[in-house]
């Protein structure tokens, strides 16, 4: 094995995690609204800045992580995650606390991830999906808790039918999947309560 240089973590662990968490908490509380994660952090390809910051903020030895083929590809991201977060990698998406998706077009059927149980709906996978662009592209009109009336999200994302696939959350509730979309330093959360408005 050759020695390779790992990218750094947060410039400041404590404040980096705090500011990143506040951004993703705001995102989860106000679905469809774009938040920015700007705190300086090392970003190993193919992770985007916000995905790396979220990993440093939320992953640890208690959270099994599942990586899709695009993220796992050359092992750089996996080594970085292992070193900086200590989170165990899993091959079984149904046991993952978080899943990092680099290529949405190859997204697994969503039923393969952990959906929680009726008694413990919180024991479900949070999907972090890297997308092409947030703030431009196709328009999605969203409603649900956290949204005052309706929110308009513009996103250029794969899979194109992501919101149709996520509509299974309505029937599953309170079980379900929570999604964080990432593009560069931008994040948008789509918790399991968010629905696509009719006619959009």
């Amino acid at each position: 094995m050759t020695t390779t240089e790992l990218a750094a973590g947060f410039a400041d662990k404590v404040l980096g995690a705090q500011s990143t968490f506040r951004a993703v908490m705001e995102a989860m509380a106000r679905p469809g609204r774009i938040q920015r994660i700007t705190f300086e952090a090392g970003t190993p390809a193919p992770l985007m800045h916000a995905s790396a910051a979220l990993a440093l903020t939320l992953f640890d030895h208690d959270t099994p992580i599942w990586l899709d083929a695009a993220i796992a590809a050359d092992g750089t991201a996996a080594r970085w995650l292992k070193f900086h977060t200590g989170a165990p990698l899993t091959d079984d998406p149904s046991t993952a606390a978080f899943a990092l998706i680099g290529d949405g077009s190859a997204l697994l059927p969503l039923e393969r991830f952990a959906l929680g149980t009726p008694e413990y709906p919180d024991r479900s996978t949070t999907l972090i999906i890297q997308v092409q662009a947030l703030g431009s592209g196709a328009s999605y009109r969203l409603h649900g808790p956290g949204i005052d009336g309706e929110a308009l999200l513009q996103a250029s994302l794969q899979p194109a039918d992501l919101f149709d696939r996520l509509s299974f959350n309505a029937a599953l509730f309170p079980r379900g999947l929570d999604v964080v979309l990432v593009s560069g330093d931008q994040v948008v959360a789509i918790p399991r309560t968010t629905r696509l408005s009719q006619g959009s």
């Binding site: 995690a17 908490m25 919180d122 399991r192």
Partner: protein, 292 residues
């Protein structure tokens, strides 16, 4: 001897990560109680250990913190928690509701309407609204899973059968986003309507019972009731003796051994704000002479 130093906001980073993950799931499932590994805090259970852990996990150096206990900024509990975070996190503190970005509360919601960007953190003693009706955690968990809340309506009905009205005056159960029945913590039911469609994020922490739950902004919160016995707010029939407010929640203060009493606003910041604007009540002394 050098003074002991703590990590920013007291908690270690692994604990914060665990609590932060619980907060995200709590927001995603409004009203559902997420179990978390509550830590021992340097204060006894019942003094807000749950709220303090939630506040410690969200607080940043740019925040301005307000802490209230029964509406008051200047009781022991409120002051000690405010000083705790001023010392361990170095954050700015305030007593002004509009100026605060994070407000930790014990048993009241401020009278001044909250705005977007604020987070209200509740200290919760018993998070399970069904606990006094069903002591087994396995059963209450199953009842939540099945949305089987008939027992709660029976309890409210028994109030009506015994007293002629719903006698529950605080910790009045609510249904969040049409699904989970939730305990709003022992706030007076006067405050229940403020939770509905609130622009601020509301987080609840129960330290001893190890639960975190949340109401996202702009979420429907309905107080349980019956068609023929609709939910009503309750406040003492009177005006604040200091600021004359007739719309705020009032505390009754006994002022001598003869049983003389007066009503004053429970929310001290609201009351002081009104007095600064020149509102007066029956017991008002001009503020200048009060300081003389």
């Amino acid at each position: 001897m050098t003074e002991a130093t703590y990590n920013f906001a007291y908690l270690d980073e692994q604990t914060k990560r665990m609590i932060r993950r619980a907060i995200l799931k709590a927001i995603a499932i409004p009203g559902y109680q997420v179990p978390f590994a509550s830590r021992e805090m340097p204060m006894p259970y019942g003094w807000g250990t749950g709220g303090v852990q939630v506040t410690a996990s969200i607080l940043g150096p740019d925040d301005t913190l307000k802490v209230i206990d029964q509406g008051s900024d200047d009781t022991t509990n409120a002051i000690s928690i405010r000083k705790f975070f001023a010392k361990t996190a170095g954050v700015a503190t305030t007593t002004s509701t509009p100026d605060a970005s994070v407000i930790q509360t014990r048993h009241r919601i401020p009278e001044t309407p909250l705005h977007e960007g604020q987070v209200l953190v509740y200290q919760v003693p018993i998070p399970e609204p069904l606990r006094y009706l069903e002591p087994r955690e396995t059963e209450t968990r199953r009842m939540h899973a099945l949305a089987e809340y008939g027992l709660m309506h029976v309890k409210l009905y028994e109030d009506i059968a015994k007293f002629g009205h719903i006698a529950t005056a605080y910790a009045y159960p609510v249904k969040v986003a049409g699904r989970y029945v939730m305990d709003p913590s022992p706030t007076p039911k006067f405050d229940n309507p403020k939770m509905d469609n609130c622009p601020a994020l509301q987080l609840f922490g129960a330290g001893r019972e190890k639960r975190i739950y949340a109401i996202p902004p702009y979420t429907q919160v309905v107080s349980l009731d019956f068609e023929d016995h609709p939910f009503t707010r309750y406040r003492q029939d009177g005006c604040c003796a200091l600021c004359g407010a007739d719309d705020s929640y009032l505390d009754e203060i006994v002022t001598d051994n003869a049983g003389t009493r007066m009503f004053v606003c429970s929310d001290t910041d609201y009351c002081e704000g009104r007095r600064a604007e020149g509102h007066t009540g029956s017991e008002t002394t001009p503020m200048e002479s009060a300081h003389a």
